[in-house]
């Protein structure tokens, strides 16, 4: 983060969104698999 971060913040929105997508997508996959397994406690 540079010292003029407040000025460059709008330009970074795309990067921030991409960064969150980068880590969020695999995490969402893991959570989906987890929920599928966890429901077996009530149905299995």
């Amino acid at each position: 983060m540079s010292s003029d971060s407040s000025q460059s913040q709008p330009d970074r929105r795309g990067l921030i969104a991409l960064a969150w997508l980068w880590v969020g997508a695999p995490l969402a996959y893991g959570l989906y698999e987890l929920v599928q397994k966890a429901t077996q406690l009530f149905t299995g």
Partner: protein
């Protein structure tokens, strides 16, 4: 910064999904269960050692250096393992995944901690909670992903080698985001109200381990982790045994669902309870972990076999406290020792995890085996373990009560304090 930290922790959290590789390795290379666990065990030992001894280097060289080391070690550990599997040289897998990869685990685990605290000085619990939640989340991703890969490539040695190779390359690319994005905040223009200089007491890592506060927190972490691992490690057989003699026994499928639910509680506790500690204070948060945790174990011991709902809820609360304990401790360290070398101090504290990782499973498994030999079955296999866990949590509770502010004689002198500020000011360019 949080996605950068998450990219590292989500990767190294794969370690908890090592069990996926165990059965294929055992059949492909003719290994016993004990032998196939070696890479994981060595990895956890190396995690503790590299975090303890590498913490000062991490503080000195900055988070980008640390994340690069973690990336290189963790990925090349997989590549060495791929070579080992392809040539059927198991020692290469132990060396690669366990030793080299284990160094990546330790350095990667502590790499974002002090930087996150500097970015979010007013909410350190939430900041470190996000990263350390990623370590829990890593196994959620890797477990189904690795299993699907082995299904596609085959479970023979060449299939395992290919799976290791893909893991190594994928994690290298995935962690690269963290290396590229990580930044240390400038102290001149603080983010979200961060102080312009290091404020409050600042204690070096070498001085910190000479204080009673460090060792009280060491005991607190060790006891909390031991109590959580006690359930986590034996969750599936435990719930099956508890309700084996009832009218509603638990099937193997349902037990797997219980294990998954515990993983979710572990992960949710990391972000949820750690963020809560920003509101109620670190000491109070650990009072909850240890005090309420002991009560939950009491409920399990007394009424656990009378209600499945009570059993599941109590175990979930205990596991959420287990995760919360991991995630809250960096902020607790920051409160006591300042941000100066908090990453290095955290690294040294993680040796408590190494001991707890042995102690928790040992207590529960050893007692269950002895009870079984004595002809007991069902919930009575675990009663004594639960009583011991209550005792350990009480010891942790007392240790937490003994934590006081650090004596000023351990603080770094003002000129060095200023020097530390100057070093931090220079870091954004180099980091």
């Amino acid at each position: 910064m949080p996605p950068a930290a998450l990219s590292v922790h989500l990767s190294i959290g794969q370690a908890y999904a090592w069990s996926v590789f165990k059965p294929p390795l055992e059949s492909a290379l003719g290994l016993s269960g004990t032998q196939s666990a070696l890479p994981f065990q060595l990895g956890i030992v190396m995690l503790g050692l590299s975090a303890a001894f590498g913490g000062t280097l991490v503080e000195r060289n900055g988070p980008r250096w640390a994340m690069t080391v973690a990336l290189v070690c963790f990925s090349s550990g997989f590549l060495l393992s791929a070579l080992g599997a392809a040539t059927e040289q198991y020692w290469l897998i132990v060396l690669g995944y366990g030793f080299v990869g284990g160094i990546g685990l330790g350095i990667g685990y502590i790499s974002p901690v002090s930087t996150l605290i500097k970015w979010f000085p007013d909410r350190p619990g939430m900041a470190t909670g996000i990263a350390i939640m990623g370590f829990g989340g890593g196994a959620l991703i890797a477990s189904p992903w690795s299993a699907q890969m082995l299904e596609s490539f085959g479970s023979d040695s060449s299939g395992i080698a290919l799976a290791f190779l893909v893991h190594g390359l994928s994690y290298c690319v995935f962690m690269l985001l963290g290396v590229m994005l990580v930044r240390v905040p400038r102290t001149e223009k603080p983010v979200e109200g961060a102080p312009a200089a290091l404020q409050g007491p600042q204690v070096s890592a070498n001085n910190a381990i000479r204080t009673p506060q460090f060792w009280c927190l060491w005991v607190v972490l060790c006891m909390n982790v031991t109590a959580g691992i006690g359930i986590l490690e034996k969750a599936a057989p435990m719930i099956t045994d508890f309700f084996a003699d009832t009218s509603a026994p638990v099937s193997a499928t349902a037990a797997a669902g219980f294990v998954a639910l515990l993983s979710a509680a572990n992960m949710a506790g990391r972000i949820g309870w750690s963020s809560t500690s920003d509101l109620i204070g670190r000491k109070n948060m650990y009072r909850v972990y240890l005090g309420v945790g002991a009560s939950m174990y009491g409920l399990l011991a007394l009424f656990g076999d009378s209600s499945k709902t009570l059993f599941v809820l109590s175990a979930l609360v205990i596991l959420s406290f287990y995760g919360g304990g991991f995630a809250t401790v960096p902020a607790y360290l920051k409160d006591l020792f300042g941000t100066y070398q908090v990453g290095a101090i955290h690294g040294r504290l993680l040796t408590a995890w190494s001991l707890a990782g042995v102690l928790g499973p040992l207590i529960v498994n050893w007692i269950a085996d002895r009870q079984e030999e004595a002809g007991r079955h069902g919930s009575s296999l675990y009663g004594l373990s639960f009583v011991i866990m209550i005792g350990l949590l009480v010891v942790g509770f007392i240790a937490n009560e003994l934590v006081r502010p650090v004596h000023p004689r351990h603080h770094i002198p003002a000129p060095i304090n200023q020097e530390a500020v100057d070093v931090q000011r220079q870091q954004p360019e180099s980091a």
